[in-house]
């Protein structure tokens, strides 16, 4: 599903040049659950942004689903992204002005799903995430765990092939954190590929494989299963 070869990303300011990704190569197969770990500033988030087609790379190749995407412009990236990738963030990133239902509905609107279909899909996923009873609440009215469940619901409502999770449990206590990890595991078992950045060894154990990064390169890979 993901094939990366010699990927480079360099941030330049007037005086300093920071190499975020240094000829990084990696591969993620369909159906895998991969955790990316490493100290702050090792390039984890940069990698995740590039995988999520939020950012472009300076050199190297990135083949997503068999398509070389490094030369895509923003519009094409957005198109590719909205049909294939779901995101889960540490800080949930729900839109405060929209209800739970409307937040989850949003990706379907952007992919042009018709209203009756939207309703069915949103309700199904809310049910699955066990937050159906909160559908008309606004994000501020929910606990952190509930907010992250909404975020996960939103990430999966479009049935993406890939879910990218950026420290999904970072803002949660351990019980809520476990709940979210179990959700992700379930999704993975149903066939969704997951790449997760995390600091937590505990969370990383839920994955099949841990990629450890340092200074923009992968250093080791632990196969867990």
């Amino acid at each position: 599903m993901i094939k990366i070869k010699d990927l480079e990303k360099i941030y330049r300011t007037e005086e300093v040049e920071t190499i975020a990704l240094n000829k990084l190569s990696m591969e993620v197969k369909e159906g895998e659950f991969v955790a990316v770990m490493g100290p702050s500033g090792c390039g984890k988030s940069t990698l995740l942004n590039i995988l999520g087609l939020l950012d472009d790379s300076d050199n190297g190749s990135f083949v997503f689903n068999g398509v070389e995407v490094t030369k895509f412009n923003e519009r094409k990236r957005a198109e590719m992204r909205k049909h294939n990738i779901g995101f889960v963030f540490q800080s949930f990133n729900l839109i405060d002005e929209l209800t739970v239902y409307e937040n989850v509905e949003l990706p379907l609107i952007y992919t042009g799903v018709k209203t009756p279909d939207r309703k069915a899909k949103v309700e199904a996923v809310l049910d699955k995430m066990k937050i159906m009873h909160r559908r008309n609440h606004y994000p501020q009215q929910l606990s952190g765990g509930q907010q992250q469940r909404v975020a996960v619901a939103r990430a999966v409502v479009n049935n993406p092939k890939l879910i990218l999770a950026d420290e999904p449990t970072g803002n949660l206590d351990s019980s809520n954190g476990n709940e979210v990890m179990e959700l992700l595991t379930d999704l993975n078992e149903q066939g969704t590929t997951i790449v997760m950045v995390t600091h937590s060894e505990h969370d990383a154990k839920f994955s099949h494989r841990i990629i450890r990064m340092l200074d923009g390169q992968t250093v080791t890979e632990n196969i867990l299963v």
Binding site: F87, L94, L106
Partner: protein
């Protein structure tokens, strides 16, 4: 999708109340101004479009060049209309209007003075497509002594009775009412209450070289007015030249030379109201310049309101940044986000339009008073107007929202989602600064303009006029008292009162636009000598006139009954001396020849006085003894109890003639009314200035709110490290004051240029003083400081621990 946009737009508006209120209020104000002015402009542009053949009707006007200046007459002589029609087949019809002097009109025991009547050709009302309520439009004005009146006049005299066939006494003649019309449309360049048939006049003279008949031609729809105008000189040669030769006693060749400056031309009917501005208009007209100025003001005010939206949206962008990021991650394209933000600004504009209508409803009466218009609220609900308003809303919404939409939708996903506190947007933005400068520059210019207009007004009202206008009572209609003996004994009665210092009885009073005038030339130079013929106004006065009004004599003497020859003598003003070319000689004893070969000997020179508006240059004036037509008593008084004096004067008037209506005015009040137009301009400018500064301050307030919010942490840290409250207030206010000062500097030359231009219309005008500019600047600065300090003081006195803890 649109539903989603609308939903989030509404919720955002509800959530950011300050932002929404400022924007809705600002936009409503701006739009209300715009709508009112648009309706004013529509109404100005609609003048005289009501006749069916409006585009084929032209008024014949006349340019006469004398002594280097061109005098434009909007009326011509009695024979011109028929003469032109007979000569040129492209003229379908002509019609004439002659103003009637103020006259008393009587029906049974009801008697009123009517100043708004005219004598017209029988086809006049048909040419102007004025519908009749009753009577036959075709024949109503055929017979002599016929009169067609408006509904208002009919009600005044006949109440609910049918006016047709009734007899009205106008002056000394009796007229039969043969037609009833509703009224002359508001958007007409004349408004008469009564039309008397031209046949009443028994006109036999067929002269071409005088003026007083307002003459309108209806041209063939295919006729070219320019080509027609080009043929007029042949008519001048044929008709005017022999007449002038006869009148002035000169040869045809000499006459031809002297009438070379006699040019008939055509003024399109629909241009009269906005483009024609001479002394001889039927009514004070509008001015295309003001249409332009007001349109520009409306657009500027609307732009100011749009600027608020743009500025506040971008300043508050931090709040929206995360939403933009999330939407982009989820799959929104930039275009979709732009549309979303545009939907928001258009929605906001439409909400504002609702309030605009409420504002317009409240403001229409005031605006009518201010602009002298007759708008009704219903006008704003006409379908084309509503459609234009909806279109305007779309344009304004897009104009206000386009930059924020572009700005917000361009946020980089990663940076906005990374920083949880989203401090990524800077509080300084060159565009925002530019827009604030624009707002305050416009406000400053308006304030300067207001000050200048009022100063000029004050200057004109207080200018030394060359005569004494304080404590001068004018009793109108001397002739109505009765014979000259009755008038004279009334005058003697008045003089017995010690509070009455002087009384003059005559025809002309300063400030009254109606006066006689004629072409004259000095006898010591030939009439055909270039530039010797001038136009002079004529005042008919008596022996006491100059002393009653305190007009100074420069040379010679006043009229005196010791000199019986004084009925052929004239006192001229200094301007006449100069224009007649006598500046370097002694004018006393010289002779002036008027048209018709009447000779008058100069016995005195009076100093120039402003007998017309101060707007106009003092023109040559000849004062002669007038004994025939006496329009009023000029009474110089000295009392602190004017009301009592008036009561006593009225008693004496009633004794002199118990049935004559008593009417009066004070010269100074009448004089002030000459400047109604300037008064109006001043009021309109000040209204605009207030609205502009209000909108600009609303925006500034909103901006200050957001920016202090963004800097709250910085302010907290500074405070912990020892900054005092004044330091902090200064820190925040400084940035805005800098912008206001730049705006001020930019405003000065623009305001100077505009006001300099405006003042050119005035013969006697103020100099633009530096302190006007400075005081406007200080005023704007103070207002800005007050606006900003509300927020900056709040931020400065807040407990820093709180602001830092929230981080």
């Amino acid at each position: 999708m649109l539903k989603n946009y609308l939903k989030i737009a509404l919720r955002n508006l509800g959530k950011n109340k300050t932002f929404s209120i400022i924007n809705v209020f600002g936009l409503s104000l701006g739009l209300a101004c715009c709508l009112l002015i648009a309706s004013f402009v529509f109404s100005e542009l609609s003048y005289d479009t009501y006749p069916e053949k409006a585009n084929q009707i032209y008024r014949v006007e006349l340019n006469v060049t004398g002594n280097g200046t061109v005098e434009t007459y909007t009326n011509v002589d009695v024979a011109v209309g028929a003469g032109m029609m007979n000569a040129y087949p492209e003229i379908q019809a002509f019609t004439r209007l002659l103003n009637l002097r103020e006259s008393f009109v009587k029906y049974n025991n009801k008697e009123f003075k009517e100043g708004n009547m005219a004598v017209v050709d029988s086809n006049f009302l048909q040419v102007f497509s004025i519908p009749f309520i009753s009577g036959d439009a075709k024949t109503a004005l055929n017979e002599p002594n016929s009169i067609v009146i408006t509904n208002a006049l009919a009600t005044k005299y006949f109440g609910s009775e049918n006016p047709i066939g009734k007899q009205l006494v106008v002056g000394a003649s009796t007229f039969k009412v043969t037609g009833l019309i509703d009224k002359i449309p508001d958007n007409s360049h004349f408004h008469k209450d009564a039309f008397i048939s031209m046949s009443t006049m028994h006109l036999t003279n067929q002269t071409w070289s005088n003026v007083s008949f307002y003459t309108y031609l209806v041209l063939d729809s295919k006729a070219d007015p320019k080509l027609l105008e080009a043929k007029f000189p042949e008519l001048v040669k044929k008709h005017v030249v022999p007449e002038v030769a006869k009148d002035m006693g000169i040869s045809m060749a000499e006459a031809q030379k002297s009438v070379n400056t006699f040019v008939f031309f055509l003024e399109p009917l629909t241009r009269i109201h906005l483009y024609s501005n001479t002394k001889y208009e039927l009514e004070a007209n509008g001015d295309i310049q003001y249409v332009y100025i007001f349109s520009a003001l409306a657009i500027f005010i609307l732009l100011l309101a749009c600027v608020n939206f743009t500025n506040l949206s971008t300043a508050a962008s931090a709040k929206r940044a995360r939403e933009v990021g999330i939407r982009k991650v989820i799959g929104s394209e930039k275009k979709q986000l732009m549309i979303q933000f545009l939907v928001e600004s258009v929605l906001l504009t439409y909400i504002a339009i609702v309030f605009t209508y409420a504002l317009v409803y409240a403001l229409v009466p005031h605006f009518n008073q201010l602009a002298g218009t007759h708008l009704s609220f219903g006008f704003f609900f006409s379908v084309p107007f509503i459609l234009s308003v909806l279109a305007l809303g779309l344009v304004v919404g897009i104009l206000a929202g386009i930059y924020p939409a572009f700005f917000l939708s361009s946020f980089n996903i990663i940076s906005v989602l990374k920083s949880s506190s989203s401090t990524s947007t800077k509080h300084r933005s060159p565009l925002r600064s530019g827009l604030v400068i624009f707002q305050f520059a416009v406000s400053t210019i308006l304030i300067i303009s207001t000050l200048v207009v009022y100063q000029q007004l004050h200057y004109m009202q207080n200018k030394k006029l060359g005569y004494d206008k304080e404590q001068v009572l004018y009793l109108q209609d001397a002739y109505i008292l009765g014979s000259k003996d009755v008038q004279n004994s009334f005058k003697q009665e008045l003089l017995k009162d010690s509070r009455i210092l002087n009384v003059s009885v005559g025809t002309d009073v300063p400030g009254n636009p109606n006066m006689d005038g004629t072409q004259v030339y000095p006898k010591d130079k030939a009439a055909n000598e270039n530039g010797t013929e001038i136009h002079a106004n004529i005042y008919h006065i008596d022996y006491d006139y100059l002393s009653t009004l305190g007009i100074k004599m420069l040379h010679g003497r006043n009229f005196s009954n010791e000199f019986p020859t004084d009925s052929f003598a004239v006192i001229i003003n200094q301007a006449a001396v100069n224009d007649l070319g006598w500046a370097n000689t002694d004018p006393i004893g010289k002779t002036i020849v008027t048209s018709g070969q009447h000779e008058f000997k100069v016995i005195g020179v009076a100093s120039d006085f402003h007998y017309a508006s101060v707007k106009q240059k003092i023109a040559p004036l000849m004062m002669m003894l007038g004994n025939n037509y006496r329009t009023g008593f000029i009474v110089k008084i000295k009392t602190s109890d004017v009301q009592r004096l008036l009561a006593d004067v009225k008693k004496k008037w009633d004794v002199a003639n118990p049935v004559a209506p008593f009417s009066y005015y004070f010269l100074d009040e009448h004089f002030a009314s000459l400047y109604a137009a300037e008064q109006r301009t001043g009021q309109i400018f000040s209204a605009f200035a207030i609205i502009a500064i209000l909108i600009a301050c609303l925006g500034l307030f909103g901006l200050a709110t957001y920016i202090t919010q963004q800097r709250v942490k910085e302010i907290g840290i500074r405070k912990i490290f020892g900054a005092t409250i004044p330091n902090l207030v200064m820190l925040v206010s400084k940035e805005f004051l800098k912008l206001v000062i730049i705006a001020f500097v930019l405003a000065i030359p623009l305001a100077w240029w505009a006001m300099h231009k405006w003042l050119q219309d005035y013969q006697y005008r103020i100099d633009l003083k530096w302190w006007i500019f400075l005081s406007a600047g200080i005023l704007v600065m103070l207002i800005a400081v007050l606006t900003v300090s509300f927020q900056s003081v709040k931020a400065a006195i807040a407990n820093p621990v709180k602001s830092l803890r929230t981080e």
